[in-house]
Amino acid sequence: MTVIRVEDLSKVYDSGFQALKGIDLDIQRGEIFALLGPNGAGKTTLISVICGLVNASGGRVLVDGHDNVSDYREARSRIGLVPQELTGEAFSTVWDTVSFSRGLFGKPASPLHIEKTLRSLSLWEKRRNKLITLSGGMKRRVLIAKALAHEPQILFLDEPTAGVDVELRRDMWDVVRQLRENGVTIILTTHYIEEAEEMADRIGVIRAGELVLVEEKRELMRKLGSKALTLHLSEPLSGIPEALADHNLTIADDGHALVYTYDASRPGESEGDPAAIAELLADLQAAGIHFKDLHTRQSSLEEIFVSLVQENA
């Protein structure tokens, strides 16, 4: 079920820069959607228009069926936003600033909910601390707590783990997964392909203000990912023997390795085609070619992403 519908959304800034060019996008309830794209591609502008920080030049956004301009109260009350920049009232305490966010969204005070939120983000011990005394990672958590203070159904995370150490990043991923389990729809932008690969159900790739692709992560990796089986040979080869010409083989490592590449998108080959590989191994045996080691690898989302962005450049 669609929870956010973006229709033909465009944005031209006063400078004349067109940040968004007719974006159409549906976000499904309960999913984790990752928006990938290089710097300046329009990720933050898209989020900002949906959340009401930037006026659209054309098109419209529906949040749970409510237009985010004409029916902004209903639309915005469903959304929590964690901005990219680490902002905050430096001299306010964690507790006060998170409570402020809840009140600002018109929700009655609920110390219980604030406590639950702070505990889930490991901020409870810091509740009386002023923001100025917190580390960058802790401030990021405070921003998440603020966004969750009014119990939103949809959470936007703009580069949530930028500049965050590995351990904290893993913690944050756990928090995001936990939120999804509680039914919150999550839209995150990220530079870290690893993050999208790890977390997302669906992935959108944005480039120069256009959505060049929206796909289920698994489907994307299946369609665009290729697999390679590398065989390290006992004896080097000078060329591919006639008997193996039918297989998609290349010679690598000065003849010390044979690389068998197979397209993961072909039917039956998504997990590797056992029959094809068995055939190859049998033919190798018959040709008297022995190998001492083998390994397979699948192209990562990063490679897919780079190839997509270059393809469209």
């Binding site: 800034y13 006026n55 109260r73 009232e89 009140g103 600002l104 018109g106």
Partner: protein, 253 residues
């Protein structure tokens, strides 16, 4: 109307002043009191009465007006400039609140501070100078309308400013000079005839005159001209704030 949101914004702004109570309350009270001590008690005894009122008492309404104008503008401008400067404005813009509610929260808090300050300074002045208030209701009306109008002006400045320098520009270069030249320390009758006409172009003259009328029943211009001028200011400020929110100027690209 989303009262909880307005209350939250209002309370957060008021809490900010309480955190900085020395700067926001004690300091303007002390600096205004110094005027009473120097001009009222010390020098004032050597100056003859103005329109039948002792000089010390004569300057009280003008000094309160000077403090009201500068404090309203600087409080309200800082109130909205600060979240723009730090980036926390994102939260206000993404919240389900109307423009009117945002203005009510910020300007309401700034105006409240000015009104409280005005009353404190009034009480402090009474310690140094004896005076009576002829029209207390009108005095309060002027106090409230002036605080509100100039807090709106401050809000506009806080949105227009793109740096701390601009934030100080209007209070220092426009408001303070206009107030000093607006009859705070003298009656317009004391000026040469040509300047008496020129000075009528200074809008602050009407505010000081009206406020003084509420104290002593006399002013440089008619009370209706004063009320008309404050109503005009209020209308212009509201129109500009309305335009800011409709266009997104300074807030939403």
């Amino acid at each position: 109307m989303n009262f909880r949101s307005v209350k939250t914004l209002y309370a957060a702004e008021m809490a900010r002043s309480l955190r900085t109570i020395l700067q926001s309350i004690v300091s303007p009270v002390i600096s205004t009191s110094l005027y009473f001590v120097v001009f009222g008690a010390a020098i004032g005894t050597r100056i003859s009465e103005v329109d039948g009122v002792s000089y010390g008492a004569f300057i009280v309404p003008g000094l309160i007006m000077l403090m009201l104008l500068t404090q309203s503008v600087s409080n309200a401008s800082f109130g909205i400039f600060f979240p723009r400067f730090t980036g926390t404005i994102y939260e206000i813009l993404s919240a389900p609140v109307s423009y009117f509610e945002v203005v009510l929260g910020y300007v309401g808090a700034a105006a409240t501070k000015s009104i409280v300050l005005g009353l404190i300074v009034l009480a402090t002045a009474r310690l140094f100078v004896p005076f009576e208030i002829a029209h207390p209701f009108m005095m309060l009306l002027f106090l409230v309308l002036t605080s509100l109008t100039f807090s709106l002006l401050g809000f506009i400045i806080g949105i227009w400013a793109d740096g701390f320098e601009k934030l100080q520009l209007v209070p220092l270069l426009v408001i303070t000079p206009l107030t000093f030249l607006g009859g705070t320390f003298y009656s317009i009758d004391m000026l040469p005839p040509a300047w008496q006409i020129v000075t009528l172009a200074n809008p602050v003259v009407y505010l000081v005159s009206g406020f003084r009328w509420s104290f002593y029943g006399m002013g440089d211009v008619s009370i209706w001209a004063s009320l008309g001028m404050i109503a005009l200011f209020l209308t212009i400020s509201l129109a500009v704030v309305n335009w800011i929110f409709r266009s997104g100027y300074g807030l939403k690209p």
